[in-house]
Amino acid sequence: MSDDEEARLRSAALQNAKAILAARHRADDELRRTKDALEEETRILEILNRTGAALASHLDHEALVQAITDAATEVTGAQFGAFFYSVPDPSGGTFQLYTLSGAPREAFADFGHPRSTPIFAPTFRGDGVIRIADVAKDPRFGQWAPHHGMPKGHLPVCSYLSVPVKRRSGEVIGGLFFGHADCDVFTAKSERLIVGIAAQAAIALDNARLYEEARHAAEAERAARAEVERVGLMKDEFLATLSHELRTPLNAVLGWAQMLLSRAPADADSRRGLETIARNARAQAQLIEDLLDMNRIVSGKIRLDVQRVSLHGVVEAAVETIRPSAEAKQLRLRITIDPGAGPVHGDPHRLQQVVWNLLSNAVKFTPKHGRIDVLLQRVDSHLELTVSDSGIGISPQLLPHVFERFRQADSSTTRTYSGLGLGLSIVKQLVELHGGTVRVDSPGEGKGSTFVVVLPLRVLREHEGRTHPITGPTRTLEVAPVSLVGITVLVVDDEVDAREMLEDLLVEIGAEVVLAASADEALVALARARPDLMICDIGMPLRDGYQLLRAVRALPEAEGGKVPAIALTAFARSEDRSRAMLAGFQVHVAKPIDPQELIITIASLVGRVRSAES
């Protein structure tokens, strides 16, 4: 290459090198700008993120407004920012508070709050953002006396930005205000950001307010509950003391009256007097007992001594107790007891109290020569005790309130009938504690009343349970014999005793029995034996009866998916019954089972009720 040639090439190359350098600088500048912009975006995102987190984490109002002010001031790049907000005062009005960021409190201490000037007012009205590049040049600025602009000593402000903080409802909570000594500092971006923060702030403030209200409400509720408990405790103590104080003198009255009666025969007048004293003392003791009972019931402190009880015995015992007073009034007392009325599950003393209360009520409100009928019968799967009288009856207005406490037809001081009005209320509470109901009916005043107590039947296995001394042994329920010949029953129970007992029972009346000790075995047996019915325990290990039945019901009909099923379970609450029905059982039978009832249930389920004779 000649020197000329080389020089020419070098010159061209170096000229180009300058252009390349310029291109590189442009690229570098662009890269830097992109990077700066990215960094700025990242910074803002971080601030917003932090703000969101900070606002969400503060439930304390004061800390929250400070966090809002700090975050907003940082985001806008303002030299200082303030948040003026309204707070409700106890008189129902509001007063204004403020927080500052970027400036000490003293910097504004002398100037008072922003007033309703053309610059500030729109923010407090909630009219949107105000952004001013040079506040001194703004026509809204400096119109008000006495300062006509910024007061002396005010921090220098050229750039101005403000945004209202509003609830979703539109109600203005306050305003965020920002200033900078340099002009034209706030950009459209700061404006967008600050609107976002104001919205976040409003939500956070609302949350803090709701939290505060909820806290107060919870505290008030806690205090009220504590007070109720305290009063309840005082009442219990008072009643215990009262009953003791009332019974102590009664004890002496009754004791002496009975002692005197048992000694030398007094004259007829004295004797009648002593008898009256004793009767009234006993009545008084009963009143005290009622009062304490009611208290125990309403405070949930009554405990039932639950056992197998024959209502037959209970009714007879109660009738015997009341018979003297009925005879004294020459009332006709007629007792009818269904021999098939089996035992119930309950507290014999409390049940006797129920019957006695109803009977004594009937005696009390039935005039001389009147009539009282007592009927105990089995109706479907429950027992019904009906006590009806030919007494004074109940007006339709009073009927709905008969079982309310302290309620009597006549509460005037001249009322004819004594008592506290607690007896029927106690009846209702005790019957309900036994899972039963009580209702009253009366054709009207002077036309007598009828009380019906309904108690669920609890049929027990004959060899099981305690027997109450008053009520004696339970009688066997007698039903027509049933045959299950030609019916295959699948019995699923993990307890071998239970399986065997059911097997014996079912085989005896001709059923074909297939046994399964688990859900898995049951599914196999179902496929193989194709039973007409399954009896299934609920509480079993691994898969319980509910799960088993759901699996069965998922099968096609041809594979036994629709086989009738009886749930046999010790869970006897109504929700257990619902759960069994939901799982697909047709019938829910509570343990312990009544063999006859189970057989009838099976027969009716498979639609094959037949008498053994036929």
Binding site: R8, S11, L14, N16, I20
Partner: protein, 354 residues
Amino acid sequence: MPIPTEPIGSIPRPIALVEAIERAGDGLDPHLEPLYLDAIRDTLSRFEATGSPVITDGEQRKFHNFWTYPVHGSPLTSPEGFKIPFAAGHVRRMPQLTGGPFRYQRHADAYLAAAKAFTRLPIKQAVISPSALSLLYPAEGIPDYPREQFIEELLSEHEGEVRRCLELGASSVQIDFTEGRLAVKLDPTGELLTRFIDLNNLGAARFSDAERKRIGVHTCPGGDRDSTHSADVDYAELLPSLLQLEVGRFYVSLAGERERERVLAVIREHLRPGQLIFVGVIAPIDPRIETPDIVRDRVIEASRFIPLDQLGTTDDCGFAPFSDDVSTSRDTAFSKIRARVEGTALAARVLGME
């Protein structure tokens, strides 16, 4: 894992094609099309036969050479560009730009698209560097077409060409940067070389990290008619700057270097993580065909300086960067390539990589 090995690109055109181009007076004559297709098909098939895992179309259609193919025949160029003198005594004259806007007349991705029809092996595509084409713009400037605008348009054209090659599935895209040593020769201060690197980096910056891993740069002292234009420039002055290029692959001529170990030491000193160095183990301008053993020894030599997971092999240069170069036969070229492939595999075995 084998040691990667790739060709640089060009293979001498079949004599029939070279003569037909001469008779036509212009490589772009449409009547040459069947001959071009034959040449491409034959080149790819012979390339496959060498066992080379990555092949090229031998740049059969690049006219007139690896440098000016994008602007050949452009109405905005004149043949009055500078002359590149080669050590063998001949001179290649470059075209010169006479106006804007600057647009490539053709792009290398068209060659890649055509080659893909004839082979299933991975294809590498070589493109000319923006820095080489920047020399088209004359020293005295062009009225109404400022240098800055030219540089911008050059970068856009380059980016489009590389991007389309990547999108077509090129296993790698190699930017031919043979003017690197020439830049040091023209401007011993290194300023020109720095600007060349800047320009090529501006191009590379337009690609993602993943894309840049598939982009490489090739440098050599120029190879034409078995001679070079800048072998007298010290490699040590070029390599540190070269390794600053933001690409993943470096194809460095080495077989023809006088002090290979010194060059390797410079590479070791400036090597950055993630860079793949393909060292030249075949010297195309040397008429002797290397044996696989020679290649193996050159690879083992390089492995003492470059970590094995960053080492690959290549040829020092294309076998015919200029379309009319018939100083090396096609047979010789493919024999040398086969030696590279076999020798590299031998080295991998010796180094315990297979």
